[in-house]
Symmetry: C2
Subunit: 159 residues, 2 copies
């Protein structure tokens, strides 16, 4: 199997196949005399595994761990579960952040007339954070001023 065929069979682009090999997620593929990479059906299985793990949003680093556990007959399911659970925790955190942003922005947009006039609560809020935050302190589910920085810096660091 050529790289193109392995790519088609696994749903992983040829570009990524080479990349995964280069970073050690995949072992170095065998080569033909001409230097073409050669893949087996077993390799395609691994690729599909990786593809599905990526679809679940797992990072390459975590996928490396999972592939290792997958190939290890002696693994404990606890190890696998821990990796999965860590990712769920991160997803939850990210979802909370995005939801807070979404809700705040939706509230502001709802309060905006959206007509030809220049008056706009969205800009007013961005302009005068603290004051505006006080004025919408009674609204539910918004990104409060004290929240800013902390969670945000986290997200940026993690991303």
């Amino acid at each position: 199997m050529n790289i193109g065929q392995a790519s088609a069979a696994s749903g992983v682009s040829a570009k990524m196949l080479r990349y995964y090999e280069s970073i050690g997620l995949l072992p170095k593929a065998a080569r033909t005399e001409a230097g073409y990479r050669v893949y087996s059906a077993k390799d395609v299985n691994t690729l599909r595994f990786i593809r599905r793990a990526r679809d679940l949003g797992l990072s390459i680093e975590r996928i490396k761990l999972l592939v290792g556990l997958w190939k290890d007959r002696e693994r404990s399911s606890a190890d696998v579960k821990r990796v999965a659970q860590e990712h769920v925790t991160e997803l939850d955190a990210r979802i909370l952040e995005l939801t807070a942003m979404r809700d705040t922005l939706q509230e502001l947009a709802d309060a905006c007339h959206g007509d030809h006039r220049p008056e706009c609560p969205i800009l007013r809020d961005l302009e005068g954070g603290a004051q505006a935050a006080a004025s919408r302190a009674d609204l539910p589910n918004h990104v409060g001023t004290p929240m800013r920085g902390a969670a945000e810096q986290q997200r940026r660091a993690g991303a």
Copy 2:
């Protein structure tokens, strides 16, 4: 005001101040004879605006638009609202994706014993996507096989 003071007053790092200037989000700052950047209270206002917009997850490109509208006395609130609404739409899409991932992974983790034994539904699922997808077709809120690719590719393209 030096860059350090503007940074402290706005919550935007000095590094980012220079970066924003380099990409044209900020006008070129005035300089002292020695070449130090100089900022005014008005500049700090703009920086705070940008900071808050970033906290709401807006991209630099959209913030450029918003800053433009903000400074434009002739703007229509409809223009501002549209930009905000576009971002809400993207946030919603991302939240849906992450939630689907989260739910699928949580279901798999819940089904995993998490003990010393190697048997693990998580790995089984990653291994045999199609079959596993069929076996959990009755479960709610999971990442269905037909969903994969489409939404995922979108996310990756957009990210």
